[in-house]
Symmetry: C2
Subunit: 188 residues, 2 copies
Amino acid sequence: MAADPLVERAATLQALCLAAGLRVATAESCTGGLVAHLLTEVAGASGYFRGGIVAYANEAKIRLCGVDPALIEAHGAVSAQVARAMAVGVRERLGADLGCAVTGIAGPEGGTPAKPVGLTYVAVADPRETTVRRVLWTGDRHENKRASAELALELLIERASALSGEGGPRSEAGPDEPGDGPRASPKA
Amino acid sequence: MAADPLVERAATLQALCLAAGLRVATAESCTGGLVAHLLTEVAGASGYFRGGIVAYANEAKIRLCGVDPALIEAHGAVSAQVARAMAVGVRERLGADLGCAVTGIAGPEGGTPAKPVGLTYVAVADPRETTVRRVLWTGDRHENKRASAELALELLIERASALSGEGGPRSEAGPDEPGDGPRASPKA
């Protein structure tokens, strides 16, 4: 089969994490397990990937990731606050160094004027800080899932690089978004 | 893109579950999130899919699925007993009607003479019973993951059909395996 470029990125992340002794855990809503699937396509993933949560229903976000229900009530499941809480929660619960979370609206249903289809938050938590990136994809459901998974992989690679002291600035990725401000994003 | 036949099977499961009001949760080890990813490729999956756990590390099986560590100690993570406990645990924890679990050795590493690469257990739990199927795939890592995910989908469809009273016998699938006995399996 032709190599999936996202599996190639997963292999890059794996090499970085194994070299630096970093363990990774994932919490996924709109990507529905795709990030974990990509990580585990690479032989040897069990050396650094602890596992993940597919937090589709809010109950899964609350019971498995430890997200405060009040946070979902106040900001909605698709929000920077919930993405952050999912990343922090899964990192702690799975004893990982890096926690990555994705929450968004893959479509075609579920969008609103305030939170349209394609709106997605990707968070990465390490022991010192948690950052969140806000994007707005314009593809179909399948494409939006892939784009979100790719962004999750890139942010994990960035963070793993920084933590392992091997990484320089990544010109195409730009700075992490610390808050919930808007960020225009091209179609992936 | 060409339709993935496994996504077609996920769509069949979704139609069955939505019609019968059945909610599904997944617990995946060797498939690494692939089953959840396939389920969530279908628009409207949130109507019946509660979420899942990617229980790669044993700690994830214990902390997130509620598997008794003594069970892993006694039988190993790749065993009918652990598959059963994962299916029961994820069903209860996510408030689902059907819990599906997959644990196996996708390869290429991790095999032993007693538990070779490709050995996989797939369990399905409903409120009344839990069944486990044992298979031995002979593909590469990617193929073994796909074969296991396909079997998980077929067993979920079988069970959802039975529970919804819509299903007749499925000649190609054969009966569920109640225990841990060997079952020869062709390459998927």
